[in-house]
């Protein structure tokens, strides 16, 4: 597979593609204020502009980035909404001259008051979007709250509970920090426009070009280069950089390549939405959870981008993996004058799961119970209903995951023994339980109609043509395995076409834990259908290869195109937010064992157990790799990753001070695969697991820190400086300090 090219160093990422004659480098001139009105753009007359291509908003046929709402320009024209807003594009063959050219552009801006965080956006003293800075609202109600007067009713239900606990929890920006920065190569010819680069979703870029350039679909050729990680960060942003490169290419008539350096990438591209959550819950004294009231506010940044969908997934996971009789979950997204936030593995769920998990740890403290035991007691099981009223029909592995993780980590014995203190170090253990919906939310897959083709090729080979990309998560390998198994041939007989909108159908985006579970299912169907035709045509004692070649000779070509159909019982009401939010969930229990230095509050995660119900692990090595890699991103988010802001500027847009874990910081992982098959999943029941491991790491680490030190943290990140402050403020329950 592609593994050989990667270890040989021959895999070609966009920056590795050989330069074309006369190719230009592209660069972006950005705003320097968080909010303002553009009064003018001045190109220094003393500068020699020969050989430099200049593009501004007036060069964009339709100046809109095609997403959910038409609010984001390809290049800012009149108003600036964040510090890194692109305003002018330049291209030049000579990098040094290009750098000088960028310095010769002056953008005259009248600064306006900016709103830089959730609190000031909600306060709406300065209104920067709509009437009150609020972009989107969702409301989920269940039981008593299923009423016009849901807030009063849920308050009454809370008041009737034996134990009511209230808390506030927040989480912060996170940068995807894929190690390959964003980049695109664009050119135009008689066939139209071509872009090749680092991306997750070729058809998103395709749609973006249709809109901004007004082109017919067949004049747009979007091809994925080998992509060095995405994690959501290359879901919607590549459309923008591709449009920028193509605008420069169109005006110059040359090939134009734009490769962001690390600083520009961290500054300008999307990040995880910060979120602030308020939760009140009611339960019985014996720990039975009854009532949930929650409000989650997400910081969208300057534009809407994918925020409504992120917020939607956030509220749909807000109740956690638990059964609630009455629930009212409200979600809001608000505009701030910070770079737009967007897709990042987990897609809203890590934020609300952080909140609900920490809250249940607080409830357990009130009740004098072990938090994991309390959570285990209230886990959703088959036949239970979620907050949207969805009845869980099967493949519900939460309890099995919990029990296996508890046993493997010796969780209860370690909890009961209390923190292990040696010298000035304390060891503690903590757990989180969670689930993550696979595929698009609600009726998303029905509307999306993802398609895949499998072609029969000479020698009985199969070629998978899909718009689902491999961004490191193993799509190519896993799809090939699925097709080979479905066709009954060896995996070496299957190839995966380079995803290009010219040659592969639209499988829907490579997001939402849907690639294996949803697209993989139609790969399986298509491969099986091709194989059935070969076998039906095969004569007695004719080999697969001979039958296939004969069939090809007879028909010229043989290809099967399949379109995804969600299970017929999936029933979702987008207006009331009721029904089957996702056809199935992956389940997991994370357990972190940490060592905290009681002097410096440095935290090391020593060992990390994950038991995850993946439905069916098609490639166990890759499946574990996904779970471990996602867990480490969650640990990084919890402990060290932090975007530091001042006046809307990012103060640490470098790898030297945006701190992701190294091999020495990473824990030993004990990863247990639990398989509760999903009948509609491929390969014997696979479920989507790409995002799952991002959800539970932070609360498990926080619970372990609390066990070790008694310091209970409700706000991410858990930096040593913050732990020290919390310990001095006495927000401690018990433990070593």
């Amino acid at each position: 597979m592609d593994g050989a090219a990667k270890v040989l160093g021959t895999a070609q990422y966009v920056d590795d593609l050989s330069a074309k004659d006369g190719e230009l480098h592209g660069a972006t001139v950005r705003s320097a204020v968080a909010r303002g009105r553009i009064r003018g753009i001045a190109f220094d007359e003393a500068f020699d502009w020969s050989g430099v291509t200049r593009v501004t908003a007036k060069d964009v046929p339709e100046n809109i980035v095609q997403l959910i709402v038409d609010d984001q320009p390809v290049l800012a024209d009149t108003v600036i909404h964040h510090v890194y807003e692109p305003i002018v594009l330049l291209a030049c063959e000579d990098r040094a001259k290009l750098a000088d050219a960028c310095a010769a552009v002056t953008i005259d801006v009248e600064p306006l008051d900016a709103v830089l965080d959730i609190a000031s956006s909600l306060a709406a003293k300065t209104v920067v979007s709509g009437e009150d800075n609020v972009q989107t609202r969702y409301l989920i109600t269940k039981g008593a709250a299923d009423s016009e007067d849901s807030e009063t009713k849920i308050d009454e239900a809370l008041a009737a509970c034996e134990v009511v606990v209230t808390g506030e929890y927040s989480s912060h920006h996170q940068e995807q920090l894929y190690i390959e920065t964003q980049g695109m190569l664009a050119w135009w010819d008689e066939a139209g426009v071509h872009v090749t680069g680092s991306l997750q979703c070729p058809y998103y870029v395709h749609k973006g070009f249709k809109r901004a350039f007004g082109l017919e679909g067949d004049a747009i050729h979007v091809t994925q280069a080998v992509t060095g990680g995405g994690f959501g960060g290359k879901e919607e942003y590549p459309t923008i950089i591709a449009l920028h490169a193509a605008l420069l290419a169109k005006k110059s008539g040359r090939h134009v390549r734009m490769i962001y350096d690390r600083t520009e990438d961290i500054q300008a591209t999307t990040k995880r939405h910060p979120a602030a959550c308020e939760i009140s819950t009611g339960c019985d004294r014996d720990g039975r959870l009854r009532v949930l009231k929650m409000r989650a506010v997400f910081d969208a940044g300057a534009y809407v981008t994918l925020t409504p969908v992120v917020l939607s997934r956030g509220v749909l996971h807000a109740g956690g993996a638990y059964s609630w009789q009455d629930a009212r979950i409200e979600g809001l997204s608000v505009t701030t004058n910070t770079p737009p936030n967007g897709a990042f593995r987990g897609f809203g769920a890590p934020q609300t799961i952080w909140a609900i998990e920490r809250h249940l740890d607080r409830v357990a403290r009130e009740l004098g119970r072990d938090p994991a035991e309390l959570k285990r007691q209230n886990l959703l099981v088959e036949g239970d209903t979620t907050a949207t009223g969805q009845v869980l029909r099967g493949s519900v592995g939460g309890e099995e995951c919990a029990d296996k993780a508890f046993a493997s980590s010796d969780y209860f014995a370690k909890r009961a023994a209390g923190p292990v203190i040696e010298g000035r170090k304390a060891r503690g253990i903590g757990a989180s339980l969670f689930m993550h919906g696979g595929g698009f939310t609600g009726s998303g897959e029905r509307m999306l109609k993802g398609r895949v083709a499998v072609d029969l090729q000479a020698g009985g080979r199969l070629l998978i043509r899909s718009g689902s990309t491999d961004i490191g998560q193993g799509t190519e390998t896993v799809f090939s395995q699925i097709a080979a198994d479905a066709a009954g041939i060896d995996v070496s007989q299957v190839s995966f076409a380079v995803p290009s909108t010219t040659t592969v159908p639209d499988s829907g985006p490579t997001v939402a834990s849907r690639t294996v579970m949803v697209v993989g299912a139609i790969v399986e169907q298509a491969a099986a259908a091709v194989a059935a035709q070969v076998r039906a045509a095969g004569r007695d004692d004719e080999s697969w290869v001979d039958a296939a070649d004969r069939l090809l000779a007879e028909h010229g070509e043989l290809s099967v195109l399949k379109q995804y159909e969600p299970p017929s019982w999936v029933d979702w009401d987008e207006t009331t937010y009721k029904g089957d939010a996702y056809p199935v969930y992956a389940w997991s229990c994370d357990i972190a064992e940490v060592e905290v230095d009681l002097d410096t509050f440095e935290v090391r995660v020593l060992q990390f157990w994950t038991a995850a119900d993946v439905g069916k692990a098609i490639n166990p090595v890759m499946c574990r790799g996904q779970l471990e890699g996602g867990a480490l991103q969650a640990i990084g988010w919890a402990l060290s990753e932090d975007i530091v802001w001042r006046d809307g500027h990012i103060l640490n847009p470098r790898m030297t001070n945006y701190i992701v874990p190294t091999a020495l910081d990473a824990p030993r992982f004990e990863t247990i695969l639990v398989e509760c098959p999903y009948p509609h999943g491929p390969g014997g029941g696979a479920k989507g697991i790409g995002e799952l491991p991002m959800d539970g790491g932070a609360p498990a680490v926080a619970a372990a820190i609390e066990h070790a030190t008694g310091v209970s943290m409700d706000h991410l990140p858990l930096l040593p400086e913050r732990l020290l402050l919390a310990s001095m403020a006495g927000t401690t329950s018990q433990g070593a300090i």
């Binding site: 040094a96 002097d599 103060l651 640490n652 030297t656 001070n657 190294t662 400086e721």
Partner: protein
């Protein structure tokens, strides 16, 4: 300077220390100055990160392989480390392991292996950054810095070399040749403690090097220095005095903490806070004194 400027730089490779001294003396009025390049872990990063292309460029002098600036020796109780010796060479040196084990341990904490293979003690002394781990570690041994110019050689204690935040008393036409120190007897207690942003590839929030000689309940020699807690590598004079003036049994937490607080003057920055650094300074110094037998 920006990365696109790189093709415009000139580089010279002096044949000898004398030639180097003559060159940097003759070029001392040069508008862009002279930049001595060893491992490139500062200069190359600075060029890449500055991003502005205005101003004259310095003349680059490659000193990375100049024999007189390299190597480790031990003679008559004195350890000498050439300024262009890499951290990796320090880490792997049997002489250093024997006489100044703190430096070996520190070496493992400098960046990651690729930085250790290139970074040098001389480079960290030349930039005079208070965050340099290597300088805090060697400072515990009360070293002298050997400087050379056309005017000859001079030796400066560290306190006289570092004059302020990224400021040094090194003349523009002087080169740091070596660092020399007289380590305590083999087997003497030492400590290296780095509080970083992570366990590798980290700049210190606080780092501490310490060495001591303990004689019958009293500390007769005490070297201590902290990184990232003051505009210069913090030599902890009040703490040293307090420890040397008292029997170990008389060293108190309050006394020690008060001395540490007099010594350190950290700031809030991108990596940490003033309060956290003060707290950690007290904590790491206490840890060293506990190791030496004090009840703090």
């Amino acid at each position: 300077m920006s990365v696109t400027d790189l093709p415009r730089f000139d580089m010279v490779h002096p044949e000898s220390l004398e030639a180097l001294c003559t060159l940097i003396h003759e070029e001392k009025e040069r508008p862009g100055g002279v930049a001595m390049l060893a491992g490139g872990t500062d200069l190359m990063v600075e060029i890449a990160q500055t991003g502005s292309r205005s101003g004259p460029l310095p003349l680059v002098v490659d000193i990375s392989r100049m024999a007189p600036l390299r190597g480790i020796s031990f003679d008559a109780g004195r350890l000498r480390i050439g300024a262009a010796t890499t951290y990796l060479e320090i880490e792997r040196s049997g002489l250093v392991q024997q006489h100044a084990p703190l430096l070996c341990r520190m070496g493992q904490d400098v960046g990651g292996p690729t930085i250790q293979a290139r970074g040098t003690l001389g480079g960290n002394l030349a930039t005079s950054s208070p965050a340099a781990d290597g300088v805090a570690a060697i400072a515990a041994y009360d070293p002298v810095i050997v400087l050379r110019s056309v005017r000859g050689e001079r030796q400066l204690p560290l306190a006289e070399l570092q004059t302020g935040y990224k400021q040094s008393s090194r003349a523009v036409d002087e080169v740091i040749v070596a660092v020399e120190c007289d380590p305590p007897p083999v087997g003497s207690p030492w400590i290296w403690r780095k509080v970083g942003t992570r366990l590798a590839q980290a700049i210190s929030k606080v780092a501490m090097g310490g060495v001591a000689v303990v004689d019958e309940g009293r500390i007769s020699r005490f070297g201590l220095a902290l990184a990232s807690v003051a505009p210069v590598t913090c030599l902890m004079s009040a703490t040293r005095a307090y420890v040397l003036e008292n029997e170990l049994s008389a060293v108190s937490t309050a006394g020690l903490d008060a001395a540490v607080e007099r010594d350190v003057a950290p700031i809030d920055d991108i990596r940490s806070t003033r309060d956290y650094r003060v707290h950690c300074s007290r904590a790491v110094v206490r840890a060293f004194l506990r190791q030496l037998g004090a009840s703090v």
